[in-house]
Amino acid sequence: MAYSEKVLDHYENPRNVGTFAKDEGEDVGTGLVGAPACGDVMRLQIKVKDGRIADAKFKTFGCGSAIASSSLATEMIKGMTLDQAAEIKNTQIVEELNLPPVKIHCSVLAEDAIKAAIEDYKKKQSSR
């Protein structure tokens, strides 16, 4: 299985790797999806300011395509409103990275991670 150039690029130079500090918690939404038993775990965080995603970070336990999918996801959502980010479809990730059929589920997980982060942020806001 040869890897696409885009996947290799994200893998070698992943964008936005990391974790937001705990004291920034109020403006941060965290999505944790997948399971170690499946070999795929993505944690995607969004920092929201004035209704827009000002910054995003991720960490992933998974194959090259999973790492690339989550790295690309953080790139895509920066600057978007929460509603715009929630519209992102996994197919956009598949197209951008040229993912083969057997790796499509990685993009689905990335889409789930975005949605989970948004939901977590909204939950925090409503309980404030």
């Binding site: 893998y11 038993a37 499946c38 070999g39 336990f61 194959c63 789930d112």
Partner: protein, 410 residues
């Protein structure tokens, strides 16, 4: 450090490069001595036949058998198919029960599944955590309907070597008529093995795992006492009726030469490969925490060149990507077309998480100490980098018990 040529091949359980001495032995049989070994009436045929008979003796000698007991096949997959289907069919009046092990190669497991569909009963034994199958496990499963037991000499994923002599003795003591089939693909030429010491009846071997060419294997079929099998391929009656088809003379010559070299060099090579494996093991485990070896490391119980390690919190395929220019393999689901993690690791009770993080190193004849050192450095750097990207590693560092989290599997 001396020069290392990239890419490095350290996946010798999947296949091996052809030894230059083997290639040299094969070449004349493509354009010079190209006769059909079955042509009885001219020198082209006689020359080819003589070369084939010589190779028969060489392969048989490696496993302690007689040249007349060798049946050439296209590889070990065919040899295993022939052994199981051929014996099950010929001896069906003796019984309909077969015993094998969950960690066998697919060529054995899938053939057993087919036999089940045809009405045979198959018991799949679960090995111990270290991969070993004990004689007690086998005899406990044997009934008076058991016609065959199939156990591999050495496992391709975790390198565990079975005590086939003890297994054979136990099987024959319980029922001398039960056949003992051994898939010796990974072990032949690497660990001492003798068909008579093991009381084996059918043994499969292949050339491309011992620095010979791909496309040629053999099924050793005992003649004293005479074991019979129904052929699976008809047409001409070659190989005493057991496997029809024109013999691929150059490949056979190569197989013979590879077997002869293996017999000669096996002891010395085992010492050298074990030392390289130890170096790799110590180099990696001394610099990285949270690593687990899959399978037994006890002397005599593991193939000299095999090392299978799980690197916790780092997924196998992403690690393979990081180890570019080094060829190894992984038990991770992501590396298989079916997206299932290694069934061998699963059978050993290695949890799915660790199966996803496993890497198999297969050190071989042409690997050097410099290559081992290069690989150690690259593995350590890559695991450290990927752990920086891993949310699980971060949680572990913070003392969070990963098993306590409610995951949402997809």
């Amino acid at each position: 450090m001396s020069e290392v040529k990239l890419p490095i091949f350290m996946d010798n359980h999947s296949t091996t490069p052809v030894d230059p001495r083997v290639l040299e032995a094969m070449l004349p049989f493509f354009t010079q001595h190209f006769g059909n070994a079955a042509s009885r009436n001219h020198v082209f045929g006689w020359t080819a036949e003589a070369a084939v008979e010589n190779a028969r003796n060489q392969v048989a000698a490696l496993i302690g058998g007689d040249g007349k007991e060798i049946v050439w096949t296209s590889g070990a997959t065919e040899a295993n198919n022939l052994a199981l289907k051929g014996a099950a069919s010929f001896y069906k009046k003796q019984g309909n029960h077969i015993i094998t092990v969950e960690t066998e190669h697919k060529s054995v497991l899938d053939t057993c599944k087919r036999l089940q569909r045809e009405g045979y009963e198959v018991t799949y034994l679960t090995p111990q955590k270290d991969g070993i199958v004990t004689p007690e496990m086998v005899t406990a499963a044997m009934t008076d309907k058991t016609l065959l037991v199939s156990i591999m000499l050495a496992n391709n994923e975790i390198g565990v070597v079975q005590d086939v002599n003890a297994l054979g003795a136990a099987i024959k003591a319980k029922n001398p008529k039960t056949l003992f089939h051994i898939d010796a693909v990974q072990g032949a030429g690497k660990v001492p093995f003798d068909v008579n010491a093991a009381k084996a009846d059918l043994v499969a071997v292949t050339a491309h795992k011992m620095y010979g060419p791909k496309g040629i294997g053999a099924l050793w079929v005992r003649r004293k006492p005479r074991i019979r099998i129904d052929p699976q391929i008809d047409g001409g009656g070659h190989e005493r009726g057991m496997r029809s088809g024109t013999l691929p003379v150059p490949l056979i010559v190569g197989f013979g030469k590879a077997a002869a070299i293996a017999k000669e060099e096996m002891a010395g090579e085992a010492i050298r490969l074990t030392a390289l494996r130890e170096r790799l093991y110590r180099g990696i485990t001394s610099r990285l925490p949270e690593t687990y070896v899959n399978g037994s490391l006890e002397p005599g119980r593991r193939l000299p060149g095999n090392l299978n390690i799980s690197f916790a919190f780092v997924e196998g395929e992403s690690l393979l990507m990081a180890l570019k220019d080094v060829a190894v393999s992984s038990g991770s689901a992501c590396t298989s077309a079916s997206l299932e993690p290694s069934y061998v690791l699963r059978a050993l009770g290695v949890g799915d998480e660790l199966a996803h993080t496993s890497i198999r190193f297969g050190i071989g004849r042409f690997n050097t100490e410099a290559e081992i050192d290069y690989v150690i450095d690259l593995v350590v750097k890559s695991v450290e980098r990927l752990r920086q990207l891993s949310p699980l590693w971060e949680m572990h560092q913070e003392g969070i018990d990963i098993n306590s989290i409610q995951w949402t599997p997809h």
